[in-house]
């Protein structure tokens, strides 16, 4: 593996604009409860959790189904309010409002079927009122980066699942987010495509210098892509452990050959095995009546 990486101009600019404090986003004692009509006890989806994200890091969150990983992402993105605790991004508090500079990619295909790829990617920029030629150049840049240049006039329905996710990623990229949140973005794709998309995500991370938080249920994916991994318990999710992987910045999918990779994934599973069984029990308890 090579040891030096060329910094792209956008990444250099991103690094240069960072404040002295390395904390990019922070969750403190965050709890998210849902009150259900007709039930006396609120449903605790998440927490309490504490998490600090450093500028430009790549962190994954893993945990059993229903543990609240998506809730954590929603809270961080400002898509949902918290019950108690605080969430800050770039020093400012978020509470149910999406701040500037955050991009989100979801598991479900959110590409707009009524627009072609070009218009999809340009969508956010146009709504933000950006000038035509600036929009065009950013869109071209993103299309080139995600390998969609030849499909610019195609409609999402003509593309495969993996390519549609690339459209969503490109659409997010053009807005130059400083924090990129991904909620199981490759969950609907087959394993091989997942591995390649993972490499592309790493490339995106390296090019933009953004902070990336990836939610995934794939231990391999988390172990391969991240510098840190947060392991969550079954619902209500709390962090069991946040570990460091120690991988170099220029890693790619071939890292799976590294002996430490196997140790990492077995450690993750040892933490999660019990939690996963507990989560299964939780989901079947609801079906009994």
């Amino acid at each position: 593996m090579s040891d030096t990486v060329e910094l792209s101009t956008s990444k250099a600019a991103a690094i240069a604009s960072r404040p002295e404090d390395t904390t990019h986003a922070k969750l403190e004692q965050v709890v998210r409860d849902f009150t259900r009509p007709g039930e006396s006890e609120p449903f605790r989806a998440l927490g309490p959790v504490d998490l600090e994200l450093s500028h430009g890091e790549f962190i994954s969150i893993v945990g059993p189904s229903g543990c609240g990983k998506s809730t954590l992402l929603n809270v961080l993105a400002g898509l949902t309010k918290l019950t108690t605790g605080s969430v800050t991004f770039e020093g400012k508090s978020i509470d149910g409002n999406v701040p500037d500079g955050v991009g989100v990619v979801f598991q479900e295909d959110a590409s707009f079927p009524w627009l072609n790829v070009w218009d999809n990617v340009a969508f956010g920029l146009r709504r933000a009122g950006m000038a035509g030629d600036e929009t065009a150049s950013r869109v071209e840049e993103a299309l080139d980066f995600t390998g969609l240049r030849d499909f610019a006039r195609a409609y999402p329905s003509q593309l495969s699942g993996g390519m549609r996710q690339r459209v969503c990623i490109a659409r997010t990229m053009v807005l130059r987010p400083r924090l990129i949140l991904l909620d199981e973005p490759f969950g609907a794709l087959d394993q091989q495509t997942r591995l390649l998309m993972g490499e592309e995500l790493l490339r995106l991370w390296r090019e933009t210098g953004a902070t990336v938080l990836l939610i995934t249920h794939s231990l391999d994916e988390a172990a391969m892509l991240s510098q840190r991994i947060g392991v969550m318990s079954a619902r209500p999710g709390r962090f069991l452990e946040i570990l460091q992987t120690g991988w170099p910045d220029d890693r790619d999918s071939t890292i799976v050959e590294n002996a430490k990779f196997g140790e990492l994934t077995s450690h993750l599973w040892s933490l999660l095995r019990q939690e996963t069984m507990a989560a299964m029990k939780q989901s079947t308890d609801g079906a009994r009546s």
Binding site: L79, V104, F106, E108, A110, W114, F123, R127, Y155, S157
Partner: protein, 249 residues
């Protein structure tokens, strides 16, 4: 054309031909029905003579007004209900039971309230079509994928721009289906109203022609109506299919 298409063509052409033969040979008495070819020539003569132009304009104006009212009105009401879940929840049983009631039963009531003429006709037609549009608007807005709604939130679009740029386009298949139904119902409502009781219009002309034993006029106009509604329906279906194709359905 596919095999199914050819079979369909043969069935339609065959039926028309069979009807033609049956009428010409007297198997179907001439007082009951005139041959299709005569219907066509009668319609042609009618159109160039201009005798029924006033009625055609009358009906067409009513139909267009009704369509605008039921499609736009239905959309606005549907979108408004979608924004007030409590009201929608309470009205849901009424909406699903609406077409169980023979809506036409209200026509006499409308006549006494508004008199015979365009207002009662258009109201009747709109009453017929509007709920189909409301229901489809509600379903369409319901089915906007959550990931799209969240994406519009992440792009900080706000409620109005989210509606215009994301929710309406995302619901467009259902909105078009609803409009198709509303349009069909609007045409049916106007023609049926004119037929039953009206001062003018194609429906009224057909009814009067029946009463006067004027089969030429009656069947000529029936053919006009048939052609018109089928053309409109096919055109709308074509639009709908093109939209579906783009969406990959």
């Amino acid at each position: 054309m596919s095999l199914a298409g050819w079979i369909r063509l043969i069935i339609i052409a065959g039926s028309v031909l069979a009807l033609e033969v049956a009428c010409r040979t007297g198997a179907v008495p001439v007082l009951t029905m005139i041959p299709p070819s005569e219907m066509a020539s009668s319609l042609w003569k009618l159109l160039i003579s201009g005798r029924v132009n006033g009625d055609i304009v009358f009906s067409l104006t009513n139909v267009i007004s009704t369509i605008l009212l039921s499609v736009l009105g239905g959309f606005v009401i549907g979108a408004a209900l979608h924004a007030v879940p409590r009201l929608r929840h309470a009205l849901d049983p009424l909406l699903s039971a609406y077409y169980a009631v023979p809506i036409f039963v209200f026509y006499p009531l409308l006549i006494v309230m508004m008199g015979i003429g365009p207002p009662s006709l258009i109201t009747m037609g709109a009453m017929f079509g509007v709920v189909a549009m409301i229901i489809n608007t509600l379903i369409g807005l319901d089915r906007v994928p959550a990931a799209m709604m969240k994406t519009s939130a992440v792009m900080q679009l706000g409620p109005l721009r989210s509606l215009l740029f994301v929710r309406i386009p995302a619901a467009s298949l259902h909105l078009v289906a609803g409009a198709k139904l509303a349009i069909a119902y609007s045409i049916i409502g106007i023609v049926a109203g004119e037929f039953i009781l009206a001062t003018a219009g194609v429906g009224k002309r057909i009814a009067f022609a029946y009463n006067d034993f004027d089969n030429q006029m009656m069947y000529g106009l029936l053919l006009l109506l048939l052609t018109f509604t089928i053309t409109v329906n096919l055109a709308l279906s074509h639009l709908e299919n093109r939209l579906r194709k783009r969406w990959g359905q």
